[in-house]
Symmetry: C2
Subunit: 492 residues, 2 copies
C-alpha cells in the first residue's frame, strides 16, 4: 500500500494519495493495490481496453488508468462515465512504462469493483474536452480552475510565493502583516475604498475616523524596517481605479520589501535583480511540474494568431532561461526619455509624446522593455514631481529622486521602488509643498526621522502582474481566483 | 571581509551584515575588519573599557562590542552616545569568547574613527532600558517593535508562517488567494464591514452590488479545493464585532485549509494535530533563536504576579515540548457538556450554565482545555443549531454536525473546522430552514454539489491567537503590528 508523504499516525490520518505523490514514486520501489481519487479528464474506449485519464489538481500531470474490457458489462460501465465526474479508484496496480511520456500507468482488473462514482455531473457539464477557450473558461468561475491550464497558474503562484519566502528567510527578512484598514492613503492617489460597518451610515463611527483599505503598506513597513532592519509582506492592496485593462485589478496582492542601511539605488536594483533571478531560477528547475503539458484540453485562445500551447510552453521556458542568464539593463529616466524621443521622431508615433518631467506611459514602458531592450529594464531617477512625496531627493541630477521602476516586456511596470527621504527637513518641505500633513496626520511618519533613523529603501512588486508575466502575459485576471475589477460585478 | 549569506554580485549588491549573520558565523573561519549597523541597546562605560550592545532586529541576540578607552576623547565620545541611536561600526575585529553566554564579541580600537552616528534620538526618546512595561510599550506603536521582547514575536510569526508553508507544500496543498472583497457573508454572522468608494455614497455603485470585507474565505476555498484537491490560504479576515477582549481583533489573519476526499472528522482532527505538532516542533528546534533572552530590557508586566521573563521562557519551552510530545485529547460536544455540568454542580459556578444545545462559552472552553485536560482538546460533533449551515449532518448522534473546535489552555478556541455537507438536498433544506438563499445568491455554492462533487472538509486557524498562545498568551494585540479593534481608533 502506498502512503502519502504526510506523516502517518494511528491509522486515522488523512492519508489519501495524490496524483503528485504517485509521480514522486517513480523510480522508487513500489507495491500493488493503489487507491486514488480524482476527476475524469478524458476517457478513450477501444475494443479490448479503455484509457481513463484522471486529474486531481495536485500535479500538472494527469494519471492514466488502463482498464481491460473483458465483459460487455465492463464496456457499458465505462461508457456511462463522463468527463468531470469524481471517481474513487481502488485495487489498481502500478505498471512501469519507461518508454512512454508518462512513465507509469495504473492498471485495474475489474472496473465495476474497482471504480466508484462519488461525484456525478449534470447533463450540461460545461468543461468538455473540446472548445475550451480562455474567454469561455473565464465565464465559469466555479469550474475554470479544474482545467490543467488554469490550475497550473495557481500552482505556479503558490510555488513562487514559497520561493520568495525561503529567499527572504535566508536573508534575515521578517515577514510582517501591516494593516489593511488604515486612515492614511500612502501615496495620496485618492482612489480609495472606504470602509464602514453595515450597522452605521458613517465610516467614522467604528474606528473613530474615516477608514480606508490600504493602497500600499509601505509607510507601515518603514516603521517595522526601522525595528527589524529587513522586512517584507505579501498583502492585499486595493485601488478603486477605473482602469479596465488586462494589467489592472481593484484588489491585488503586493509583495513589499523595506530594508535599512541601503545607501544607493544601485544597491536596491541589484538586490531586486538577484532576488527575482533566484525565484525564476527555482521555476526553471521545476518547469516540467509547473507548466502544463501539450495535451492540455485547451484548443484555442482569444487571439487566433496565438502560438500553439506547445510552442508557447517552449517560449515560456526560453523566457525564464534568459531572464536568469542575462544581465538586466539599467538606464536613468533621462536616458529613457532620450531613447523614446529619438524613436518617436524617427520610426514610431506614441500616443503621448515623451517629454522630460512627464510620467512614462504604459506604451513607453512596453516599448523600452519589449522592443528596445527586449529584456527587463530598471529605469531610475525619475523627476521628483512624477513620484511620491517620500522618495529621497538626489543631489544630482537636479530635481530627481532616487527611485526605480522595473519594466518587463509585454507588461510594463511590475515593480516600483525607492530610497526613502530620511532628512527630516527635506521631507517636511516636500510634504508642505504638496499640501500634505496639514493637520499633522503624518507626524508619526515624520517622527521616524527623529528617533534612531537609518538610510532605508524598498520596493513593491505587483504579484499578479509578475505571475501573469511568468505564465505568458495572458491576462492578470487568470493569476488570481475570483478577480475584482472596476467593470466586473462581484457575484459571490 | 565578511559577507552576508545573500549571493553577491559585482560589488554593488546590498551586502551589509546583520547581527544574525554574525551569529551564523560562530564556529566558522573568520576574518577581521567587520562593518555592521544597528541600534544602541545599552552602553556600559567602565574605567578602561566600554561595552556597547547593539541590536538590529534580525536576531533575538544583541551584539556586544568592546571598546577600549585609551584617551579622554574616547571616553567622552562614548558618553555622548544614547540608547536608541543608530550606529555604523567599521573596522571591528572578531574575538571568540567561548566561555561566555555570547560566544563572540567584536572589538574596536579607535572608537572615534570606527563608530559613526547615523541616526540620533531626541532628548525624550521613550525606549529607555528601565521601566518598560507591556502596557507602556503598547502606547508606542512606532517604536515598540524595537524591543527584543516584542520584535521576537514578529520573528516567531514569520517563522511559523514559513513552517506552515513548507508543510503544506510538501503535502501537495496549493496556497491560494481568495478574495477579500465579497458580496456574501459566509456564515451569516452579520458583523460585516461594508466597502464603498470615496467618490460615491452607495456601496453598490462600484461593483454593482453591496460589497463587504470577507469574514472567512471558506466558501471560495471550497471551489478551489474541488479543483486542486488540497488548498490553503493565509488571508486577512474582518469582523465588526464589539468584543473588546485580549483574544479578539477586528482585522485578523486566518489560516484556512480545505481538502477533498476526507470522510470523517477524525481524519480532519488527526491532520490538524499532525500539522500543528510539525510546526511547533520546528519552533522547539529553533527556540533559542525564537525566544528572547533573560537580559531583555523588559522589567515588569501588567500583572505584578507574572513570573520573571526567565521563568516565563522556561514555561514556554516546556509548553512547546509537551504540545509536541503529548497526544491531544478528543471529546464530543455531548461529553463536554457532561463534564461541564458535573463541575458546574460540584465545585464551580460558570456564568453560563452548560446545557446541551447551547454554544460553549469562552469560560467553558478555557475550563476544558486549561483546567480539566490541561492540554489542547478537540471538541467534536456540536448540535446542528450551534453551527454554520454548511456543516455535514451526522446520522448519529441525532441533530449534530461533523465538526470540531480545537480549544487550548488559556485561550479557548483557536481552530474551528468541519466536513462540509455535500448532499445537495440536505444542504438546500438546511439553507431554507435558516432563511438563506432566498434570492438565489448562493446557487453557485449549491451547484458545487451537482458538478463533480467530492467529500471535503477543512478548518480555520486564527493566526494571531495561535502566535499569541505560543508566545505565552499575553495579548493577541502584540501578535500583529498595528492591531485593529473595536475600541481602538486608527491613528494611521
Amino acid at each position: 500500500m502506498f502512503r502519502a508523504c504526510c506523516p502517518i499516525k494511528s491509522g486515522r490520518f488523512y492519508s489519501s494519495l495524490t496524483v503528485k505523490s504517485l509521480y514522486e514514486q517513480v523510480h522508487r520501489a513500489r507495491h500493488d493495490s493503489i487507491s486514488i481519487h480524482g476527476w475524469i479528464k478524458s476517457i478513450r474506449i477501444l475494443k479490448r481496453v479503455a484509457f481513463l485519464d484522471l486529474q486531481d489538481g495536485t500535479s500538472v500531470n494527469p494519471l492514466r488508468i488502463v482498464v481491460p474490457l473483458t465483459t460487455t458489462d465492463d464496456a457499458q460501465f465505462l461508457k456511462n462515465l463522463k468527463t468531470g465526474q469524481t471517481l474513487s479508484v481502488s485495487n489498481a496496480v502500478w505498471q512501469d512504462t519507461p518508454n512512454r511520456e508518462q512513465p507509469f500507468e495504473l492498471q485495474i482488473k475489474r472496473p465495476i469493483d474497482s471504480i466508484q462514482l462519488i461525484g456525478p455531473v449534470s447533463e450540461n457539464y460545461p468543461l468538455q474536452k473540446k472548445f475550451q477557450t480562455l474567454p469561455y473558461l473565464r465565464t465559469l468561475p466555479t469550474l475554470k480552475y479544474r482545467t490543467s491550464y488554469l490550475s497550473a497558474i495557481l500552482r505556479l503562484r503558490s510555488f513562487v510565493e514559497l520561493q520568495f519566502m525561503l529567499y527572504f528567510q535566508k536573508n534575515h527578512f521578517t515577514k510582517v502583516s501591516p494593516p489593511i484598514l488604515t486612515s492614511n492613503d500612502c501615496e495620496g492617489a485618492g482612489e480609495l475604498f472606504q470602509v464602514s460597518t453595515n450597522q452605521s451610515s458613517t465610516a467614522s463611527s467604528y474606528f473613530g475616523k474615516p477608514t480606508y483599505l490600504t493602497v500600499s503598506t509601505q509607510l507601515h513597513l518603514e516603521i517595522l524596517a526601522l525595528s527589524l532592519s529587513r522586512c517584507w509582506t505579501l498583502s492585499p492592496c486595493f485601488r478603486a481605479e477605473r482602469s479596465d485593462t488586462p494589467r489592472h485589478l481593484s484588489e491585488f496582492w503586493m509583495l513589499e520589501v523595506e530594508m535599512c542601511f541601503v545607501n544607493s539605488i544601485q544597491e536596491l536594483t541589484s538586490f531586486v535583480e538577484t532576488t527575482m533571478k533566484h525565484v525564476i531560477n527555482a521555476c526553471v528547475d521545476n518547469q516540467e511540474e509547473l507548466l502544463p503539458k501539450q495535451f492540455v484540453s485547451l484548443q484555442e485562445d482569444e487571439a487566433s494568431s496565438r502560438p500553439s500551447l506547445d510552442q508557447e510552453k517552449q517560449q515560456i521556458k526560453s523566457r525564464w532561461q534568459s531572464l536568469v542568464n542575462e544581465e538586466w539593463q539599467t538606464i536613468t529616466y533621462t536616458q529613457a526619455i532620450e531613447i523614446l524621443k529619438k524613436h518617436h521622431n524617427q520610426d514610431l508615433h506614441f500616443q503621448y509624446e515623451p517629454e522630460w518631467g512627464q510620467p512614462l506611459q504604459t506604451e513607453h514602458e512596453k516599448f523600452l522593455a519589449g522592443e528596445y531592450f527586449k529584456s527587463p529594464v530598471f529605469v531610475t531617477d525619475y523627476p521628483r514631481v512624477c513620484k511620491a512625496f517620500y522618495m529621497k531627493q538626489n543631489s544630482t541630477p537636479n530635481d530627481t529622486v532616487a527611485c526605480f521602476d522595473l519594466l518587463v516586456p509585454g507588461m510594463g511596470e511590475i515593480i516600483g521602488g525607492s530610497l526613502r527621504e530620511d532628512d527630516y527637513d527635506k521631507l517636511c518641505k516636500e510634504m508642505k509643498e504638496r499640501g500634505m500633513n496639514e493637520s499633522g496626520e503624518l507626524d508619526w511618519y515624520l517622527s521616524l526621522r527623529k528617533e534612531g533613523s537609518a538610510p532605508h529603501g524598498g520596493f513593491g512588486l505587483g504579484f499578479e502582474r509578475f505571475i501573469s508575466y511568468l505564465y505568458g502575459n495572458h491576462n492578470i485576471r487568470d493569476a488570481i481566483p475570483f478577480h475584482r475589477t472596476s467593470t466586473g460585478s462581484i457575484n459571490f
